[in-house]
Amino acid sequence: MSKMHVKLTVNGKAVEALAEPRTLLIHFLREELGITGPHIGCESSHCGACTVDMGGRSVKACTMFVAQANGAEITTVEGLAAADGTLHPLQEAFREHHGLQCGYCTPGMITRAYRLLQENPSPTEAEVRFGLAGNLCRCTGYQNIVKAVLAAAPVMQAQKEAAE
C-alpha cells in the first residue's frame, strides 16, 4: 500500500505532501500540516470538534480520508480571521457573548456556524440550534453559543454588503 501524492488548498495556501490514503484528514491537518485549530473530541463522528469547511460543506475531518479530500479547498478556524489579524465577526461574537468556556468545541462551532450563515444569513434561533446540532459542547449549555451566532449574523451581512 503505497503513499499517495496529495494536493490541497488549506486556508488559501497550496499544500502538497505524500500521505497514506488511510490517513484521516484531521490527522493530516494536525500532524502533517501543524494546523491544530480543528480538534479531536470523539474521533467517532459524533462531536463536531474536528469540523472544517471543505468545498462549501461543513465536514467532520475525523470521518474523511485525506485521499478523499485530495484536490479540495479547505478552510479551518485559522483561515477565518483577516490577514491583519482582525477577528472574524463570529470569533468576535463568541468573545463578546461568552460563547466559550474551555474552548475545546469552539473551532468546530465557529467553522460550522460560518457555513450555516453563508447558507442562511439571517437564521432564527431554532434554525441556529438545528444547524449546530452536529456540534457538542460540554461547558456552555449552548445558550451563549446560539446568542453569539445570532449576533454575528447581521455583522457578517453588513460586511458582505459593504464589500459589494
Binding site: R22, E43, R57, S58, V59, M64, F65, R112
Partner: protein
C-alpha cells in the same frame, strides 16, 4: 482508531468503477460519503484492500423531476435532497425524512445511494423508498438492471445487490396531492431510529382511498407493511382502523432488544410512530 491500509482509486465513469469493482473482487469496496463505511473501517469491522471512491464519477449526483417522476443519482447527498425545491414539491416526504437523518455535517457527505446500499436496518432511506415504491438501478459488468426497493432487502447487510454491482440511480413517482409523514423516535438528534414510520395516503370523500406504510429499525431489514395499509384503505381513518393498522404492522415487524430498549418498548414506540404518522398524513391529504 486507525483503519487498515488500502489503495485508493477515483474512477471517472460508472463503467470504469464497475470494471474496477469486478477486477479487484472481494478486496474492494466502493465509498460514497463514507459516513457508514469509515466508522466501520476505523473499528476494523471493514478492512478493504482497495477503496473505490465514487465522488469523481460523472453523472452520479443530481436530482431530475419531470412530469411528476423523480430520478435521483446515487451520489446525491442528503443535504442536496433537503435543498432541492423541485423535489420538495414533487415528493415532500423525502425532505421530511432527510431532515431527520443524522446531523448537518453528516448530511453534507452522506449519500442516498450509500444509505440504500449499506443494508443497515437503522438507515432511514430504505423504508422511505419502500413506502414510495422506488426502483433502484444497479450497474454491473453485464449491464444495468432494476430492482424494486420492496424486493431489495433480505437481512442486515444482505441485499439484492451483487458485490460487483454499483447502485447508480433511484426512481419513483412523486406523490403530489397525497398526505405524507415521516415520524421517527430517536434518543437524541443524530441518532438512528428507535422506531420510524413512513406513511403516504390518499383520501376520497372522507375515506382512505390508498395507503402505503413502511417501518424502520424494527427488524433486520426495512418492513413494508401491506397489511397495515390494507387496514387503512376504505376506512375513515377512525380509531378502529388505526388499531387494526397498528395490529397488522405489529404482525410484520420483528424488533430485537438492544441499547435502544427491550422488544416491548420498541413495539410500543412503533405503534406510537405509526399512529402519529397516519394522523399527520391525514391532516395533509
Amino acid at each position: 482508531m486507525i483503519p487498515g491500509s488500502f489503495d485508493y482509486h477515483r474512477p471517472a465513469t460508472v463503467q470504469e468503477a464497475a470494471r474496477l469493482v469486478a477486477s479487484l473482487g472481494e478486496d474492494a469496496r466502493v465509498v460514497a460519503g463514507g459516513h457508514s463505511l469509515i466508522p466501520m473501517m476505523k473499528l476494523r469491522m471493514a478492512a478493504p484492500a482497495h477503496l473505490i471512491d465514487l465522488q469523481g464519477v460523472e453523472g452520479l449526483a443530481g436530482i431530475a423531476v419531470s412530469g411528476g417522476e423523480v430520478r435521483i443519482g446515487a451520489m446525491t447527498t442528503q443535504h442536496m435532497l433537503i435543498e432541492d425545491a423541485a423535489l420538495a414539491q414533487a415528493a415532500p416526504l423525502v425532505r421530511e425524512a432527510a431532515l431527520q437523518i443524522a446531523d448537518p455535517q453528516v448530511r453534507y457527505m452522506g449519500t442516498i445511494g450509500g444509505n440504500l446500499a449499506n443494508g443497515d436496518p437503522g438507515n432511514d432511506m430504505p423504508g422511505l423508498m419502500q413506502c414510495l415504491d422506488a426502483a433502484f438501478t444497479l450497474v454491473g459488468p453485464e449491464g444495468a438492471r432494476q430492482v424494486r426497493a420492496r424486493e431489495f432487502y433480505f437481512g442486515a447487510y444482505d441485499t439484492a445487490r451483487a458485490e460487483d454491482e454499483i447502485l447508480s440511480e433511484i426512481a419513483f413517482s412523486g406523490h403530489a396531492g397525497a398526505g405524507y409523514a415521516y415520524e421517527k423516535q430517536k434518543r437524541k438528534i443524530g441518532d438512528y431510529a428507535t422506531a420510524a414510520a413512513a406513511v403516504l395516503l390518499r383520501m376520497e370523500g372522507g375515506r382512505c382511498a390508498a395507503a402505503s406504510v413502511a417501518m424502520t429499525n424494527l427488524a433486520d431489514r426495512p418492513i413494508f407493511s401491506q397489511a397495515a395499509a390494507d387496514a387503512l384503505v376504505g376506512s375513515p381513518l377512525d380509531a378502529a382502523a388505526l388499531d387494526a393498522a397498528v395490529a397488522a404492522m405489529q404482525g410484520d415487524i420483528a424488533p430485537g432488544a438492544d441499547t435502544r430498549g427491550p422488544v416491548e418498548f420498541k413495539r410500543h414506540v412503533a405503534g406510537v410512530m405509526l399512529r402519529r404518522a397516519v394522523a399527520r398524513a391525514a391532516s395533509r391529504a
